[in-house]
Amino acid sequence: MQRNWKSDWIMYSPIILIEAMINGLLTGSIYALIALGLTLVYGVLHIINFAHGATLAVAMFAVWGLNIAAGIDPYLSILLLAPVFFALGYGVQRFIIGPAAGGDDGNILLITLGLSIFIENALLASFGSDTRAITSDLSFSVVELGPFLISTPRLIGFAGSLIVTVILWFVMTRTDAGKAIRAVAKEKLGASLMGINVAHVYALTFGIGCAALAVAAGLLMPSFYVNPRVGGAFVNIAFTIVVLGGMGSIPGAMIGGLLIGIVESLSGLLLGESLGQIGIFIIFILVLLLKPTGLFGAKA
């Protein structure tokens, strides 16, 4: 079938194009939230956390479970799950990954890979491979913003991501704990000599990443589904965002997330839903070819 790309562009009215961009921006803010933990852990521990996607799946199952079993609203469950996942991430890094790595940060990579396989299969064994979703009153509601129709869950998701970003910015720049995290990221030995407990900082970083995933899960569930492998798709996108924004850069993850959201939405509109992700991976390849350090990345 032949398509005429030029007429395709003209065919869409500006309203549809702008609406697609807004929706992409809103979805992108959640991607950014998922990328945040990945880039933070990379920035501090200099390893990729392979269990990131599996942790997201656990968080989404937790949101789903709280809704099914106790009727707790997904947005409300964030208030409960964010601290729980922070403690979980802290504990897993401090008492399982850290000791198992035996002082060699390279081993952490392998342990998180093992953890991800373990978690995904534990989820498969307990919930099966079925896809589950929450139906809430908000799932299909829309807000009218001038001529644009914006889905309500996405708007709430954007607001939630914004709040998390502001809180994280405050923690990282205004508290001693956040400053210690940034210090360990660039100068582990200097930090140790100031009495900063590196194992504690590693665990804090993991905890923050996991808490961000719990928030993302709560924001996603009203308009998304969950199955044991759902994390993979998100982490592929999140990884592209981390590379685009610059490995380890928090502002990079935020801006990169928004950009990737818009790209995905526009390429979905122009190329069709099934080819929508092509745009993301074209960007991934282009960044690696043209600016491997990413938008905000420092030279290695």
Binding site: K179, R182, A183, A191, L193, G195
Partner: protein, 232 residues
């Protein structure tokens, strides 16, 4: 103040320090001298708890040190490491604040004033990223960061390394000045001549052992040392 007895340590199975005895008393500047690779930095790592001892003991301020960096900092044994190891991605102010992360937090504001009066150049640029400072300024920042922890003993590892001759002079003046205010200093240096000028006592380390020790005056006059280190 610091009493090191028969200290042994190393990396993996390789022993680097083979029984070191060093003491630093109140109010002293003690120089620990030696060529590259004799174990000076290894000694500092062991004192700061970054390396486990394989033998011997460290007593600081009357109590044994249990061998963790946190315990060393809490006790007031503060090291300014070789190569400064400041936080390049953070501002001067943040670097100094982190100096009091574990110790001296209650007096942070007062100690900041103290550091700024010692290093007026730092006060003018508290928002500047530490990584953009010159080598001499980075060394000042590293020492200032150490002062923020209210040290009872300050270990300076190669503070003159990589500085211009003029700045080296300034650095040694500063060490003298800090000491004159009552701070005991252990100065670990390759720069033998200038270290001996300001130190009260000195130790020479060779191959993981103290081969010579005594007052700075006696050591500077030693013919063997003159031949080996001063080329006289």
């Amino acid at each position: 103040m610091l009493d090191v007895k028969n200290l042994r340590t190393g990396y993996g199975g390789v022993e680097v320090l083979r029984g070191i005895d060093i003491t630093v008393g109140k109010g002293e500047i003690v120089a620990v001298l030696g060529a590259n690779g004799v174990g000076k930095t290894t000694l500092n790592k062991a004192l700061s708890g970054l390396l486990k001892l394989t033998g011997g003991s460290i007593t600081f301020d009357g109590k044994p040190l249990d061998g963790s960096p946190i315990a060393a900092v809490e006790a007031g044994l503060i090291q300014v490491p070789e190569g400064r190891k400041i936080f390049p991605n953070m501002s001067i102010l943040e670097n100094l604040e982190l100096g009091s992360y574990r110790r001296g937090r209650a007096n942070r504001a007062r100690n900041l004033e103290l550091v700024f009066s010692t290093f007026p150049k730092l006060r003018q640029r508290i928002e500047q990223m530490a990584g953009t400072l010159s080598g001499g300024e980075q060394q000042m920042l590293a020492i200032g960061r150490g002062m923020m922890a209210e040290p009872k003993l300050l270990i300076l590892d190669e503070p003159s390394l990589g500085l211009s001759p003029l700045l080296v002079e300034e650095m040694f003046d500063l060490v003298k000045r800090l000491n004159a205010e009552g701070l005991p200093i252990m100065l670990v240096e390759q720069n033998v001549v200038q270290s001996l000028e300001i130190a009260s006592r000195a130790y020479i380390i060779e191959n993981g052992l103290v081969t010579m020790s005594g007052t700075a005056a006696v050591i500077s006059a030693d013919p063997e040392l003159k031949r080996a280190y001063l080329g006289l």
